[in-house]
Symmetry: C2
C-alpha cells in the first residue's frame, strides 16, 4: 500500500476523509514513529516479508551509489530462494496465506509468490503502468494463483482519463471471500492485502470518483478507507475480530512528484518517496486487535515494516530464523504492554545507509534528494521545500560530521544541531557506536536489482496460452539497469 | 492565544501531546477550515471582540502598503470608543465579563478593557517582551482590574534562560476562581482566556519544563493543554458544562521565525504568522458544549474568529448591532445542525486584501512573505519552504490575474491553477463577484496603528504610585510607527 503519513485524518490531513482508518486508530493503537525499510515499494515489500533490510535480502542495486531500485518489467532478479518469507514460516504453524494485490518481488517463474509460501494470489507482479502496445512492452498481467487471467488495460480496465477502475472493489471482494472461507474452515490465515490504488496512475471506482475534496488521489484514499472499514466489520461480523491481528501501514512516503493530482501528503515531514528524509520513510501505522490492544492507544515505539515479520511470527507462536540476521523486532510488548523498546532505525537508499535514528535524534550520513539533471527535468521529490545543505541535489557525504536533527523539536528536518554544541557531541557518541556496530556486522546480500533485460518482460506468463494472450519475447539482451535516483 | 494549526495532536502534530484538546475535540466539534481575520495578534483580537475586519475597526496601518501592525508599548492608538465590543453587548443580557491574559487593544487609559465592557481583568496590555531597564523602556505592567499590580520580570518572573514562568498557572487559577464565583452567584458569564505562553519568549511553569518531546514550545503547549482540560473538568464538576459554550482557537498561525526552539507548527500549510498564506491564518478550532454539540463532530464550515462575536451574541439571545457592517456570522447552524453556510474568507494584511477564499478555492490578489531586506537579516516567515512566484520577497500584485489554488487538492498552496484552464475561468468569475461586492461596500475605519510615541509607554500605569513603580515618561515625540512586514 502506498499512502503518506499525512494522508489520514488521524494524522492531520486537512480534509479529514478517512473515517474508517481514524476509527481503526481509535479502537486500536496509532504508531507515530513507524518507518519503512526503504523509500520505494519493491525493497520495502521485500523487507516486510523477510524481516530483513533490503541490503541483506538482495533488494538493492550496486549499479550506482545510493540508488533506489525496484522491479520493473525488465528486471532479471527477484526474491532469492535463500530468503525465508513470512508465509513460508507461517505455513509450519498451519496458516493459509494469501496475497491480494501487487507482489513486486520479481515476476519471473522462480519468484512467483506461490513458490515463496503463499497459497493463493490475486493480483499483479508489477505496478499497473500502461497501457502498452504489447510490442515494445507487454501489458502487466493479473494472476489468480499460478496463472494469469488477463492483463491491465485489456481485461482489467483502468481509464487514465477519468481515473476510473474497479480494482479496489475486486481486491476487497477477494479479501472478504478469503476471510469467510478461512473462518468457515476454521483455518488460521495470513492475508497480505497489498493494494495500490494510490500509486500513479491513481484510480478509484465509479462510486468514489469525485467523492473527495482532494481530487482523484483523495477518491482513491476514500475507497481504500471504506474497504478497510468493510474488512474490519467483516471480521467482527464473523466473530473473529478478537482472534485476528490487523496492521495497517504503507510501503513508503507519498510520491510528491505526482502532486497535486495524483500525489498524497507526508504532513509536515520533509520531501517524499525516493528520499531518506522523514517524508520518504515515516509511515502511517495502526494496529487493531479488539480485546487485546487497548482502544485509543498511541505509541512512540520506533517501528519498522520489518517488525511485522517478527511480530507475526510471535503471534503464531513461532521463532524467527536463527541462521541469519533479522532486523525486525517483536512489537507485541509495545502493542500489548505499552513498552518502549530501544532500537535504531536505519534509512537506506540502495547500497548506502543514508541516515540513522536513535531515540528522537536522526543523523544524516549522506543527503540527496535527486540529481540536478533529473531536477532540471522537473522531477522534484521535495516540491515547495528547500532546506539548504539538506535537500541537496548532489550526493553529499557527512560521514565525518553527520547532520543531526532532533525530530521532536524539529520534525521537518530544517534545523541541524550545531556541531559545536554539547548536545551534538553527546548524541553523536551514542549514535556513532550504533552505526559502527551496524556496519561491522553488515553482510550485504547478492544484489538482485542490477540486471535488466527486455526478454524477461511479461510476454508469456503462465496461463497466457489459455487466454490467447501469449506474446513473443524479443532476443535476450541483458544490460545494467539504469537507476537515475 | 497563539498556536499553530499543526500544534494539536488532533491536527497531526507528530508528538501528539495534547490529550485534553484532543479529548475536547472528540467530545465536541473540530473545525478544519477556521481562520483568523489577520495574521498578527492585536488586529486578530480586535476582530474577535468586534466581529469586524481590522480594516473596519481601525486595527491596521496606512504607513505602508500591506503592512502588519500591532500594539507595541509606544503605540498611540487603540480600540476606538465607537467600536462595540462583545462584552459591552453581553452586559445588556446580564453577563459578567472577564479577560484573563493579554489585552492588546491599546494600553492608554481610554483603551482599558474595563472601559470597553469587561468587568474584570487580570493580565497585561502588551506582549511579555523584556526585561527592560525601565529607562529606555519600561517593563510591561500586569493589571488586576483597573490598576497595575506589578510588572513582568520584576513581580511576575519570566526566566529567559530556563523558560520558567508560572504565569499560565496563575491565569488558570484566575479562570477557575472566576467560573466558581459566577456559578455560585448564578450569574451568566463571558470569560476571554487570552493566554500567551506560546508567544516568544515562550515559557512554562516548572512542572511542565522538559515534559515535551518538542522542547520549550512543546512544554508551553502541554501546560495550556493541561489547563484547558482543568477548565473543562471544572465546568463539569460545577454542573454547568451543558450550560457553557466553550470555543478554543488561536490568534494567528505559529510564528515560524521563532523555530525550532520557540516556534510552533502550522502542519503542512504554507508559511506562518505575518503572512496571508494558510500557515499564517488557518487556526486550530474546537467548539465544546456537551449535550448540545454532537460529540466527535467535524465541520468544514469556513469560520473566522469574528464569528465568535456573532455566535456569542446569538447564544445570549442578542442581535448584532445593525448600524455597522459586521463580518462575523452566527455559527450555531453549523455547530448544532451541521449546516454549511456559504461565505467567503478575506485574508487581510494591513490595508490590503491579499487573498480571498470561496469554497475550496483561494485566490491571491497580492503575494508577499517579507522583504528581501528583512529576509537577508535572517527573518524568514517560511523556513524551508519556497514556492516560486508565491512566497515572494517583493510585494507582487496579481489583481488582474489572481493566483488561484484548490485547497482540497493542494492545501500547501504549491500549485497555482493554469490561467488558461476552464476551472480557473469559472471559479474566478464567482470569486471576482464576491471581491467586487466586498470592495465596493468597504468603508475603512480610521487607522489606529499609525503613530508611535515613547511618551505613551507603560511608564506610570494607574496604581503605580501604590507600588512605588511609577516611572518618568520622556518628552512626547510622536512619529510614524515603522512596520517592516
Amino acid at each position: 500500500m502506498k499512502m503518506g503519513w499525512g494522508d489520514l485524518g488521524a494524522f492531520g490531513e486537512p480534509s479529514k476523509e478517512t473515517p474508517n482508518l481514524d476509527q481503526m486508530a481509535s479502537e486500536g493503537m496509532l504508531f507515530l514513529d513507524f518507518y519503512t525499510a526503504n523509500p520505494l515499494c519493491s525493497p520495502s515489500r521485500a523487507a516486510l516479508l523477510t524481516g530483513r533490510l533490503p541490503v541483506r535480502n538482495g533488494f538493492y542495486t550496486t549499479n550506482g551509489h545510493a540508488r533506489n531500485a525496484y522491479t520493473p518489467q525488465d528486471i532479471v532478479g527477484g526474491i532469492p530462494d535463500s530468503e525465508l518469507l513470512l508465509p513460508e514460516l507461517l505455513k509450519k504453524a498451519g496458516y493459509i496465506n494469501k496475497i491480494i494485490g501487487k507482489w513486486h518481488l520479481g515476476h519471473r517463474p522462480q519468484f512467483h509468490p506461490l513458490k515463496h509460501g503463499f497459497d493463493e494470489w490475486f493480483g499483479s507482479p508489477n505496478c499497473h503502468f500502461g497501457p502498452y502496445d504489447n510490442r515494445a512492452l507487454p501489458n502487466i498481467p493479473v494472476y489468480r494463483d499460478w496463472e494469469m487471467i488477463g492483463r491491465y488495460y485489456e481485461d482489467f480496465k483502468i481509464d487514465l482519463k477519468t481515473g476510473e477502475a474497479n480494482l479496489t472493489q475486486i481486491y476487497l471482494q477477494e479479501a472478504l471471500d478469503f476471510i469467510s472461507r478461512q473462518q468457515a474452515s476454521q483455518q488460521p490465515f495470513f492475508l497480505y492485502w497489498a493494494i495500490d490504488a494510490t500509486h500513479a496512475p491513481v484510480y478509484a471506482s465509479k462510486h468514489f470518483l469525485g467523492s473527495s475534496q482532494r481530487g482523484l488521489y483523495g477518491d482513491a484514499v476514500r475507497e481504500i478507507d471504506d474497504s478497510i472499514g468493510k474488512i474490519l466489520k467483516h471480521l467482527q461480523k464473523l466473530g473473529i475480530s478478537e482472534n485476528t491481528f490487523v496492521f495497517f501501514t504503507s510501503d513508503n512516503g507519498a510520491a510528491l512528484i505526482s502532486a497535486p493530482k495524483q500525489g498524497g501528503s507526508n504532513g509536515r515531514f520533509l520531501c517524499g518517496k525516493q528520499t531518506t528524509f522523514e517524508g520518504g520513510m515515516r509511515e502511517p501505522a495502526i494496529a487493531w486487535w479488539p480485546g487485546h490492544i487497548p482502544a485509543g492507544g498511541v505509541s512512540h515505539q520506533l517501528g519498522n515494516v520489518m517488525d511485522l515479520f517478527t511480530t507475526s511470527l510471535s503471534l503464531a507462536g513461532l521463532q524467527p530464523p536463527s541462521d541469519r540476521q533479522i532486523d525486525g523486532i517483536d512489537l507485541l510488548p509495545a502493542i500489548l504492554q505499552g513498552k518502549l523498546i530501544d532500537r535504531p532505525i536505519f534509512y537506506y537508499r540502495g547500497n548506502e545507509m543514508m541516515a540513522v535514528r536513535v531515540g528522537l535524534y536522526k543523523a544524516h550520513y549522506w543527503t540527496w534528494s535527486n540529481s540536478w539533471e533529473e531536477y532540471s527535468k522537473g522531477i522534484d521529490f521535495c516540491p515547495g521545500q528547500n532546506v539548504s545543505g539538506v535537500t541537496t541535489h548532489t550526493q553529499e557525504e557527512h560521514t565525518t560530521l553527520p547532520l543531526l536533527f532532533h525530530l521532536g523539536r524539529d520534525p521537518g528536518e530544517k534545523y541541524p544541531l550545531s556541531f559545536a554544541s554539547e548536545e551534538y557531541q553527546g548524541v553523536m557518541e551514542r549514535i556513532s557506536a550504533v552505526v559502527q556496530q551496524h556496519k561491522e556486522t553488515m553482510v550485504p546480500g547478492e544484489p538482485q536489482l542490477n540486471v535488466c533485460d527486455k526478454a524477461v518482460m511479461n510476454w508469456s506468463p503462465p496461463g497466457c496460452e489459455k487466454l490467447g494472450k501469449c506474446l513473443q519475447p524479443p532476443e535476450s539482451d541483458p544490460k545494467k539497469c539504469f537507476w537515475p535516483h
